[in-house]
């Protein structure tokens, strides 16, 4: 069962011809509509007319997250604001988010790709989709939502939080599909157990989990505890949102990336050299149909590999392996992107102090917990307990307000956080996520 069988099973030759046609038009578009791309293409000595084969994509320069930050907020948009019907944003290292804009066509494409993704995961029109991805500036909630409506399923816009209520609704409303982060699903399983509710009593059949990396071992745990088929979904707001790639329930061997809209490449993160199929490297994506904020060869920083081998599900689109980490220092905490440098600027904003800090990420009771250790030197120290507690709380509040992440600040004695010669080790991630 497929949402768009014609396009999902397009033979490789036809698919690649379509990609080339769209790529040429895209390069033409950004060259004339986006000053940033005009400049970078000219600097690379590339003219739109020079893209005549898919291999020519390698002549195009990369786009980095920094380029998006530098053009905050709307500098990379390829259309007039009048044509932008939706704006989303994700974390940026300077405390300012990276902003993306969508035209009506972009929203329609996103809905279509999300609908395809639902069907690939085993969801159908008659399902009741319990959507616990966060609704708001983040793309997760609304992305899944519009896809569900496009499919014609019944979507319950739960967003995150209020877990007891979520369990009650899952039970009373008869939810059949669950969409949320994998760690939240396990948290829900625990909460249900405490309420005396067995997931076997619920009607859940499929779970589509993403926004953070999760292993096969975790999949086994989720499927056992929630009594459903757990499917991995991939996406990022810079490219679109959730629905860029999806595991098919027939094989669960890699995630099909929708190649009629995205051209994926795997590169060596150090040299930028394109690697062959099967090799692990950084995923680079070129959007070939986006109108609002198209990107050429965007460096996702996610490490994966690609395969063009035919899949038993019948879809001809290539598959990327499950994510095995990042090539930068970004953390994903309960589905939220956090850069250590963001915490650093928050700490520096307090009385202009430059405290030494350490981030420790753990998983307790299936939820990510972030501890921020801050050294108390003479400038930070106060003789009164209430002042030190107020300091901890204000740091926790700033982190929560600016980054959307709950943390626990632990004040430690000076020089207890290891110093290093080179780049300071700011993060200890105790979670194990090897696939």
């Amino acid at each position: 069962m497929m949402f768009n069988e014609e396009f999902e099973t397009l033979p490789r030759q036809a698919l690649e011809a379509l990609q080339l046609k769209r790529l040429k038009a895209m390069v033409e578009r950004v060259y004339s509509s986006v000053p940033f791309y005009r400049q970078s293409l000219e600097a690379a000595g590339v003219k739109p007319g020079q893209i005549n084969s898919l291999a020519d994509i390698q002549r195009l320069p990369f786009t980095y997250k920094q380029d998006m930050r530098d053009s905050y907020p709307y500098g990379l948009f390829a259309v007039q604001m009048d044509d932008i019907v939706r704006i989303h944003a994700s974390s940026g290292t300077t405390g300012k988010p990276t902003v993306v804009g969508y035209t009506q066509k972009d929203i329609d494409t996103w809905s279509e790709l999300m609908a395809r993704s639902f069907v690939a995961a085993g969801v159908h029109k008659g399902d009741i989709i319990h959507n616990s991805y966060g609704y708001g500036l983040f793309t997760g909630g609304l992305g899944a939502h519009y896809g569900a409506e496009k499919l014609g399923a019944s979507v319950i816009p739960m967003s995150g939080g209020n877990t007891k209520k979520q369990i009650m609704i899952m039970k009373d409303f008869g939810s059949t599909v669950l969409t949320c982060t994998p760690s939240y699903s396990l948290y829900m399983a625990e909460a249900a157990r405490e309420e005396g509710i067995d997931f076997r009593q619920l009607k859940l059949r499929v779970g589509i989990f993403g926004a953070e990396p999760w292993s096969d071992a975790m999949r086994g745990e989720i499927e056992a505890k929630l009594n459903l088929s757990a499917i991995d979904i991939y996406g990022l707001s810079e490219i679109m949102g959730p629905g860029v790639a999806i595991e098919c329930q027939e094989a669960k061997q890699g995630l099909h990336i929708w190649e009629d809209h995205f051209i994926p490449e795997i590169i060596d993160p150090e040299s930028g050299e394109v690697l062959p199929a099967g090799a692990k490297g950084e995923l680079v994506i070129t959007t070939i149909t986006k109108e609002g904020i198209p990107l050429l060869r965007y460096r996702t920083r996610d490490i994966t590999s690609i395969t063009y081998e035919p899949c038993i599900c019948g879809r001809s689109h290539a598959r990327i392996s499950r994510m095995s980490g990042r090539s930068d220092d970004m953390l994903i905490i309960r589905g939220v992107n956090v850069f250590p440098s963001q915490i650093e600027s928050i700490l520096m904003g307090i009385e202009g102090v430059e405290p030494h800090y350490l981030l420790i990420v753990d998983r307790k009771d299936n939820l990510d917990v972030l501890e921020v250790q801050v050294e108390v030197d003479e400038q930070l120290f106060s003789d009164e307990v209430k002042h030190l507690q107020a300091l901890s709380h204000s740091i926790e509040k700033e982190i929560k307000d600016l980054l959307g992440v709950t943390s626990k600040v632990r004040l430690v004695e000076p020089r207890t956080i290891t110093r290093s010669e080179g780049k300071a080790k700011r993060v200890i991630d105790n979670r194990k996520t090897d696939a």
């Binding site: 108390v376 930070l380 009164e384 307990v385 507690q389 901890s392 632990r410 004695e413 000076p414």
Partner: protein, 143 residues
């Protein structure tokens, strides 16, 4: 009329408190009064010592975070109701007590209590106006 107190940040790790007292002991510092404020995450050790400069130096050398705080030492009649009289006077004048603790030695017939006020000047004036005896730091350190 103020007294200089040393405050030390203590992480909630085993042995830290012992380390502080060891360092002071080895440096020949005599602790005259002490109080330990604790939370689940950390503690603040407050000390009145005989040699503040030396204590400050040796603790900092060992990597402790140390600060100096102004506190007030008051003579309290050593009988039931003694402390209550002082606190009621302060209360009448709307003076806020942040914390307090007792001193090791007596001053003649009287006990000595160390107070931290949010307004030290105002508190000293009020205490003296009400007939209570405030002890100078210099006297206290070597008592």
């Amino acid at each position: 009329m103020q007294v200089e107190q040393i405050s030390i940040f203590i992480e909630n790790k085993s042995g830290r408190l012992a380390e502080v007292t060891r360092v002071l002991g080895e440096a020949g510092i005599n602790i005259r009064a002490l109080s330990l404020a604790d939370t689940s995450d950390f503690g603040i050790l407050r000390l009145i010592v005989n040699d503040r400069e030396k204590a400050n130096t040796v603790l900092k050398e060992k990597g402790f975070t140390v600060s100096k705080t102004e506190v007030v030492a008051v003579e309290v009649p050593d009988r039931p109701g003694g402390l209550s009289e002082i606190l009621q006077s302060l209360d009448r004048e709307s003076i806020n007590v942040e914390y307090m603790y007792a001193f090791v030695e007596r001053c003649g017939e009287n006990a000595v209590i160390i107070f931290r006020f949010d307004d030290t000047e105002k508190a000293i004036n009020a205490l003296m106006r009400n007939g209570f005896n405030v002890l100078a730091g210099e006297r206290l350190y070597s008592m």
